[in-house]
């Protein structure tokens, strides 16, 4: 599996490299700065309860295997979270070392320890005796993988159904390769598969009720974690031209083997990205790494209110992405079916975060236009509407998300649980991990009733 991944990555590696990891000595220097707080706030800041305070103390006391075990026991995807978590909003946000000089680089330490554990070939995960009870997990994003691993640890017979060719969901197809690459992802997914989790890839549920019907088959419980696969486009003139993509289309192609094709297309061309979140910034940076010429990030929010994580925003700016805040796109101009530009005007949001037309005040004489060759929408995504047909008995809320009990993540149908973005809407990988853990726990409770 790893070998294949390497081959496929070779072209991608020309454009994208993930951050260099710490060496052991560097990790020790960083751990030495940790205050080793009593009742550490960093540990309270992790939705997946990875307990940074504990694993850093272990690293400090040279118990590296123990540190690795804490991470992996708490979060089977601990390495990935170390790479992709917006730590400045989570564990590192309350790090008290900031009162001395600067916060501890927790994410990087976490990633170091996971790779260290892999490199020494240490397997800290134990598996209980086989229970001969089948559970189905639908979708293999962070929620699905975590739920599958947690159940498998307890001896359940888990099958993951994944509609794509490879496992990982948003981790594989929704995160730019300069943040997380296939090698790393494959290595961590291997930890899940090593627990004996069965996998059905390229598996698409089509018939009405076909997911629900698994319960009539041999499966005693189902965890639905299909994520958000329906990326939004603005309905404006030109938005259905062939040079207009959603961020999902774009990242999908980058992350599959089509990177060379995209690179040829985009080189020295101008790109407008619509959106001001982390995904928009990631896509913008990706375009720049593919040698695009001018890359604009156009968003309704003001610079101060950009929803993007600071690290992602800074990365984009470091790559000379042009941020155009407080602006709305009204038209994508085309010539002979090809995109030639975007037109818009500056705006003010009367109320923060409210994008309804009545809240957007246009600023007079602020019209602008950019010559661009491609437009990429990064304005969020929703639940695939088809999922309702596959789960006809399950209740959905008015935004199209699956309704669940907040604590147990059980849906309106007994035996069917759901978690991740299909429940929460746009969220973080680490929250999906939390859901996966919670879902597994509830499924075990349910099966033992």
């Amino acid at each position: 599996m790893k070998q294949e991944g390497k081959k496929a990555n070779s072209k991608k590696d020309d454009y994208f490299q993930i951050e260099k990891p710490y060496t052991l000595s560097q990790a020790i220097v960083e751990a030495d700065r940790c205050l080793l707080c009593y009742d550490p706030l960093c540990s309270q800041g992790c939705p997946a309860e990875v307990e940074p305070g504990r694993f850093i103390k272990k690293l400090r006391l040279r118990n590296l295997k123990g540190a690795f075990k804490v991470i992996k026991d708490n979060n089977i995807l601990g390495g990935i979270c170390g790479l992709v978590c917006p730590v400045d909003k989570l564990c590192e946000e309350k790090c008290l070392a900031s009162g001395i000089d600067r916060v501890i680089n927790i994410g990087k330490l976490q990633r170091f320890l996971v790779e260290y554990g892999w490199d020494i070939g240490f397997n800290p995960i134990t598996k209980e005796k086989d229970k001969n009870v089948n559970v189905a997990v639908i979708g293999s994003g962070p929620a699905g993988l975590t739920c599958a691993a947690e159940l498998a640890k307890k001896g359940y017979n888990v099958t993951i159904f994944e509609k794509n060719e490879k496992l990982g969901g948003i981790l594989r197809y929704g995160i730019p390769p300069f943040k997380l690459n296939d090698d790393f992802l494959d290595r961590e997914i291997e930890d899940v598969l090593n627990l004996g989790v069965k996998v059905k890839t390229n598996y698409e549920f089509k018939d009405k009720g076909s997911i629900e019907n698994l319960l009539k088959d041999s499966f005693k419980a189902i965890f639905v974690s299909t994520g958000l696969t329906n990326a939004y486009r603005l309905k404006i003139p030109g938005s259905d031209s062939k040079d207009v993509f959603t961020y999902q289309d774009f990242l999908w192609q980058i992350n599959s083997d089509k990177v060379e094709e995209i690179a040829d297309k985009i080189k020295n061309k101008n790109v407008a990205i619509i959106g001001g979140g982390s995904v928009a910034m990631d896509v913008a940076t990706t375009c720049k790494l593919l040698n695009a010429n001018n890359v604009y990030c156009i968003s309704l929010e003001s610079m101060e209110d950009l929803p993007a994580d600071k690290a992602d925003l800074h990365k984009a700016i470091d790559h000379y992405v042009i941020i155009k805040p407080q602006s709305q796109i009204k038209e994508i101009t085309t010539k002979d079916g090809k995109v030639i530009g975007v037109k818009g005007n500056e705006v003010k949001l009367l109320k923060k975060g409210d994008f309804s037309p009545s809240n957007i005040k246009e600023i007079l004489n602020s019209e602008f236009s950019f010559n661009v060759d491609f437009v990429i929408f990064a304005i969020g995504s929703g639940v695939d509407p088809k999922i309702k047909e596959l789960l006809p008995s399950v209740t959905f809320d008015d935004k199209g998300y699956i309704k669940v009990d907040k604590e147990s993540l059980e849906t309106s149908v007994k035996g069917i649980f759901a978690g991740g973005e299909v429940v929460s809407g746009p969220s973080l990988a680490v929250n999906a991990v939390r859901d996966g853990k919670r879902g597994a726990k509830s499924i075990i409770n349910y099966l033992n009733k």
């Binding site: 020790i28 707080c37 009742d39 008290l96």
Partner: protein, 413 residues
């Protein structure tokens, strides 16, 4: 810039900073560069008697690290020099020719009586300003040499006597800390005529044992040995030896301090403790000769700040403040004081006090602040040692008039 010169046994040093007898003083060329960088003098790398050919083990050193701090100490199994005697004689001559103002002390180690006499005479003839008799190397492969001499006090006297009878230049005896009381061999040296004492050579130690192959470090092809340990890790021990020697009134000899000196602050401490000269190796391993300019400037600024005009005036200045523990005034007590406005809420003071102190700190988990109980505090001050807030420290000791010592009640059966 203050005049940092100091005259010891009639020999004038431009400043009290010397290279100690070790890898850093192995050749005239190295020493010359150290002088150029600002070192005042040298104790030239130990020269053994010509009767034994020296081959040094490989590898010969090992770094002792603490957390992310490297070279907290240095362990070595190096012997006396492996260079031919003639080369060393020529190097000393060359140094005296080109650096007449930088005193050269030559560290020698005879392997029998005749060799002590021979080496002393040869290097006096070569122009050495002083001799340093090596009674202290803790890992000599030659039977009856180094530390073995320093531990057999009579031999210290005998060999000092031979040297003193045959040369006119001042003679320092370099002693080992690996004895019960370092002043005893020092008195033997004095009675045999020694003009000064160098304290101390490396401490016999073992820094690490490789937990995978069970071999002590440094690993010399599967073998290790208890051997010499130097650097900041031994400073408290070497400073103690200087203070003990300086406080020994019958001794009354000038002292060269050696063992873990890195900064001008260390130097000042050794001077305050009674040393007139200081010698360094591990700090040069770590920083190179460039540390000399900071020693020179640091000591000079310190003397300006404190109004000292001569280095001599600092020497021994702290000695009157050294007492026996029985002399302490136990009627005066105090407690730790917390400047909580600057507290960042890490709680390590609470952990330390609960698990290793007097359980006199409670924890306010909502505010994340310690709640100290002054009455219960017995001022061990470990809370202040773990507190990350320094300069000025958040937790300080304060005397509390009339405070009674609190002792914990017995456990209820």
């Amino acid at each position: 810039m203050k005049d940092l010169s100091i005259t010891v046994c009639g020999v004038k040093f431009p400043n009290p900073f010397l290279l100690s007898s070790s890898v850093v003083s192995n050749t005239a060329e190295m020493v010359a560069r150290a002088f150029d960088a600002g070192f005042g003098g040298v104790s030239f790398k130990g020269i053994g008697g010509p009767s034994v050919e020296i081959i040094n083990p490989a590898p010969r050193m090992h770094s002792y690290n603490l957390g992310s701090k490297k070279l907290v100490g240095l362990q070595n199994v190096e012997q006396t020099t492996d260079r031919p005697l003639e080369d060393n004689i020529q190097d000393v001559k060359w140094l005296k020719k080109h650096y007449p103002n930088n005193p050269v002390m030559v560290n020698i180690m005879g392997f029998n009586k005749e060799e002590w006499k021979y080496l002393a005479q040869v290097f006096e003839d070569a122009g050495a300003d002083m001799l340093e008799l090596n009674f202290s190397c803790p890992h000599m492969s030659v039977e009856g040499s180094g530390m073995k001499v320093g531990q057999a006090f009579k031999l210290v006297g005998d060999f000092t006597d031979i040297v003193k009878r045959n040369v006119k230049i001042p003679v320092f005896a370099k002693l080992t800390s690996n004895v019960t009381d370092i002043t005893e061999p020092a008195m033997y040296a004095k009675e045999a005529g020694a003009d000064g004492i160098t304290a101390v050579n490396t401490v016999r130690a073992i820094t690490n044992i490789d937990i995978n192959n069970f071999v002590p470090c440094p690993n010399i092809f599967g073998k290790g040995a208890l051997s010499g340990y130097s650097g900041p890790g031994i400073k408290p021990i070497s400073l103690k030896c200087i203070v003990e020697l300086a406080k020994k009134e019958e001794l009354g000899l000038p002292l060269a301090g050696c063992g873990g000196i890195e900064t001008w602050v260390d130097v000042v401490e050794f001077l305050l403790g009674g040393a007139s000269l200081v010698q360094m190796t591990t700090s040069i391993v770590k920083y190179g000769h460039r540390l000399a300019e900071d020693l020179v400037e640091g000591l000079s600024f310190y003397m300006e700040d404190k109004g000292f005009n001569k280095v001599e005036d600092i020497v021994g200045k702290a000695l009157p403040n050294f007492y026996e523990t029985k002399d302490f005034d136990l009627s005066r007590q105090g407690a730790a004081q917390f400047d909580l406005d600057r507290c960042i809420g890490c709680g390590v003071c609470y952990i330390a006090c609960q698990d290793a102190g007097g359980q006199c700190i409670e924890w306010d988990s909502k505010k994340r602040r310690p709640i100290p109980d002054e009455e219960k505090c017995y001022s061990c001050m470990i809370c202040s040692f773990v507190c990350p807030i320094d300069n000025p420290p958040l937790i300080t000791f304060k005397e509390i008039k009339g405070k009674k010592i609190y002792t914990p009640p017995p456990s209820k059966l």
